[in-house]
């Protein structure tokens, strides 16, 4: 991998069960306030209940617009926050070379259950759910709503989608395709994925406990994380500050199993190595790591092996105990948290963790932990053996 120039981040936005803005989310993380509950928007139908991390309707009033998916509403909410922070007008994004690169999973799936149920019995149901699907591809819908004129791309790499979208968006800036890229991830809670993950038997009946000895799996969540990536020439022209930077991005396949991670995290190690190479940094430069930390047996084992060897002695945090697993949004939400925690110089405790698993031998943050360094790592592991990592810097660095 070649070393590359940093790409500036000038705005960040986030909405998830922890809060409906970046400051709200950070305050919740700092205080360990988490609010898992039963799904409110669909009938559960399962013999046993499983908690989810759902965004309350009050935080998303525009979601009543039934012409667009909830995923797009979540994405737009986070996008407006990020653009406002960047000093860019979300209603006037048609003036320059603006790209949109969004990761999702549920947001691109054909999940119209009621329509399908009726169609297969020979009825001719109204096409509205299909039309909504066609109008709700996250990247192209956001480009349309914002008036963005540049490339629009939806990355569907399951749980690493948000990380990959930011990494690809940064390449668009570096290679001169765009002046500004809105990059991130978004996903909604769906009864389809809820049933699917329960049937895979990797869902915890209790609030999830990443890396904990008693962990039993993940809880699903929903949300969106967005960053505004901006060419320095464009940023300088309008006198905008820098909140952080994308220094490097790595992504690698395990090529091991269609759905399970490599037990020794081989693909993750390659992704981290590539991200650090692009950044021109080494592991010693990392202040901390934001783990993928789903709370499933396989994921946490693969990551723990990497923490205890490649990343030994570097503090790490697992935040899905606060947000649930937001699938295609997770990597982007965690990238936002990573940059925010770097700026604050402090990591909160990892919600849900209490007891170390001796078989893993690793300990996420258990109390507020001061961190200092030029960069931090945010990593994602996905179905399909996809592994992706971002090396991120606080504003003004390096």
């Amino acid at each position: 991998m070649h070393r590359v120039e940093p790409v500036s981040v000038t705005g960040m936005g986030c909405i998830c069960a922890a809060g409906s803005s970046v400051p709200d989310c950070l305050a919740a993380l700092d205080h360990g306030r988490r609010a898992p509950g039963q799904p409110a928007r669909f009938r559960d139908g399962h013999a046993r209940p499983y908690p989810v991390f759902e965004v309350p309707d009050a935080a998303l009033p525009r979601a009543r617009d039934n012409d667009l998916s909830r995923t797009v509403h979540l994405a737009m909410r986070a996008a407006r926050e990020a653009l406002n922070q960047a000093g860019l007008d979300p209603t006037r994004m048609d003036g320059g070379r603006v790209g949109v690169c969004i990761g999702t999973s549920v947001g691109a799936s054909l999940n119209f259950l009621d329509f399908y149920r009726r169609a297969r019995t020979g009825e001719t149901p109204d096409l509205q759910p299909v039309r909504r699907y066609l109008r709700s591809n996250p990247a192209t819908a956001m480009a349309r709503l914002l008036g963005a004129t540049g490339p629009a791309q939806t990355v569907v790499n399951a749980c690493s989608s948000g990380t990959d979208a930011i990494g690809l968006g940064a390449a668009w800036i570096r290679q001169g395709l765009c002046d500004v890229v809105l990059a991130g991830g978004a996903d909604e809670l769906s009864e389809i994925t809820y049933a699917g993950f329960i049937r895979l038997m990797i869902t915890d009946e209790h609030p999830c406990r990443p890396f904990d000895a008693a962990r039993r799996g993940l809880n699903l969540g929903e949300g969106a994380g967005m960053v505004v990536l901006e060419a320095d020439s464009h940023r300088a022209q309008r006198g905008a500050g820098r909140l952080g930077a994308v220094l490097g991005y790595g992504t690698a396949a395990d090529a091991h199993h269609p759905t399970a991670p490599h037990p020794e995290g081989l693909g993750l190690r390659r992704a981290i190595a590539d991200a650090l190479d692009q950044a021109g940094l080494t592991v010693a430069d990392l202040a901390f790591v934001n783990a993928h930390g789903t709370g499933t047996a396989n994921n946490d084992q693969a990551e723990a092996g990497v923490f205890s060897s490649l990343l030994a002695d570097i503090p790490f945090i697992a935040t899905k105990g606060m947000t649930g697993h937001t699938l295609g949004a997770a990597g982007a939400i965690e990238a936002v948290f990573t940059m925010a925690h770097l700026r604050a110089g402090l990591l909160p405790a990892s919600a849900g963790f209490t007891d170390m698993d001796p078989s893993l031998g690793v300990l996420p943050t258990t109390a507020p932990t001061p961190v200092r360094g030029v960069a931090a790592l945010s990593q994602s592991l996905a179905f399909g053996g996809n592994n992706s990592a971002l090396v991120l810097a606080p504003g003004g660095q390096p």
């Binding site: 149920r117 169609a119 066609l134 791309q153 990355v155 329960i198 049937r199 895979l200 038997m201």
Partner: protein, 321 residues
């Protein structure tokens, strides 16, 4: 890097298998006699690459994807050693739709507590690309792009970005979408609700197929041609006096008298039709669509989605400007 050399092509679709079949169907269409095959693609020859046991539970979408990927690598003459630094990008519109509906069937028929975990896990959009990585033992980056009509130019931008930043030496880029009965039933109803130029040929049966390309930055490796000038955005990209192959919402604008063709009757209504147009463009620049289409120096492939997002690229022979 001014373009990406097409070293190899793998192709399977409802109308046949490989470049000769596609060329024959395209010549038929140009002569006015082609209609899309309302069937699914034949993938039996996948057993030439993998043991039957490995294929036992593999869904149709993944089988097409895998077969096209293997054939692209074989066409390029690449073995495992040559593929050591290779990335995978897969473009799709709907992803593994049949498996998605199979999971919905299992939820409806048996209830959510008895729904099929196998169908759910393998309906995730990036599993077919991951299966390519597992089967070809490719440990580089592996990304899937999901959007209607513009996934192919987006995937090409990703491949180009990876090659430019030295992330990989080569990209195996594919595009897949599949026929399902539900899409078949819905297509004409959707097309009936929009104006003719937007609807184009979307009333046609859904296509079913996969195309893969081995892409390399060295123009000397361009066995089939070079893909260059990739563009994606809301501004239409027009190159007058150049043969143009149209897909997506642009199919209604075809005009053979102006050398503007829409090959949807060859492959059906496909969200990743532009990949098939790229294959056709490589045939056109190499004179393989003659005599119905004379040899072209360059072919522009254009698509547009219903949001007004345009994708465009140009295919040339190795030596053309």
């Amino acid at each position: 890097m001014t373009g990406m050399a097409v070293e190899g092509i793998g192709l399977v679709w409802s109308g046949g298998h490989g470049l000769d079949d596609l060329a024959a169907r395209a010549r038929d269409m140009l002569a006015g006699t082609a209609t899309p095959a309302d069937v699914r693609a034949e993938t039996d020859s996948l057993k030439n690459y993998l043991p039957t046991r490995a294929l036992r539970r593999m869904d149709h979408f993944t089988r097409m994807t895998l077969l096209a990927a293997f054939e692209a690598a074989r066409d390029a003459g690449l073995d495992a050693t040559a593929l050591a630094s290779t990335g995978i990008v897969l473009a799709t519109g709907y992803g593994p739709a049949a498996l998605t509906f199979e999971f919905l069937d299992s939820m409806i028929d048996f209830g959510p507590d008895m729904a099929s975990p196998q169908a759910f896990a393998h309906s995730v959009h990036n599993i077919p690309a991951a299966t390519v990585a597992v089967s070809l033992k490719l440990t580089g980056p592996c990304t899937t792009i999901g959007q209607i009509d513009t996934a192919v130019p987006a995937a090409l931008l990703t491949a180009q970005a990876w090659l430019r930043e030295g992330r990989v030496d080569r990209v195996l880029l594919g595009a897949s979408d599949e026929y399902t009965n539900l899409l078949r039933a819905v297509a004409p109803r959707l097309a009936a609700g929009v104006s003719g130029t937007i609807a184009g040929r979307r009333h046609l049966p859904p296509g079913d197929g996969a195309a893969f390309f081995c892409l390399h930055p060295d123009p000397a490796r361009a066995r089939h041609g070079i893909v260059r000038d990739i563009a994606l955005g809301t501004t239409p990209i027009l190159t007058p006096e150049r043969a143009t192959f149209l897909s997506g919402c642009l199919t209604g604008h075809h005009d053979p008298s102006k050398n503007m063709h829409a090959f949807a009757p060859v492959y059906g209504s496909l969200p990743v039709a532009m990949a098939f147009d790229i294959v056709l463009a490589t045939l056109a620049v190499n004179g393989r669509l003659e005599p119905t289409l004379r040899i072209q120096n360059a072919v522009q492939c254009r698509t547009r989605d219903h949001d007004g997002l345009h994708g465009a690229l140009t295919v040339t022979r190795r030596t053309a400007s």
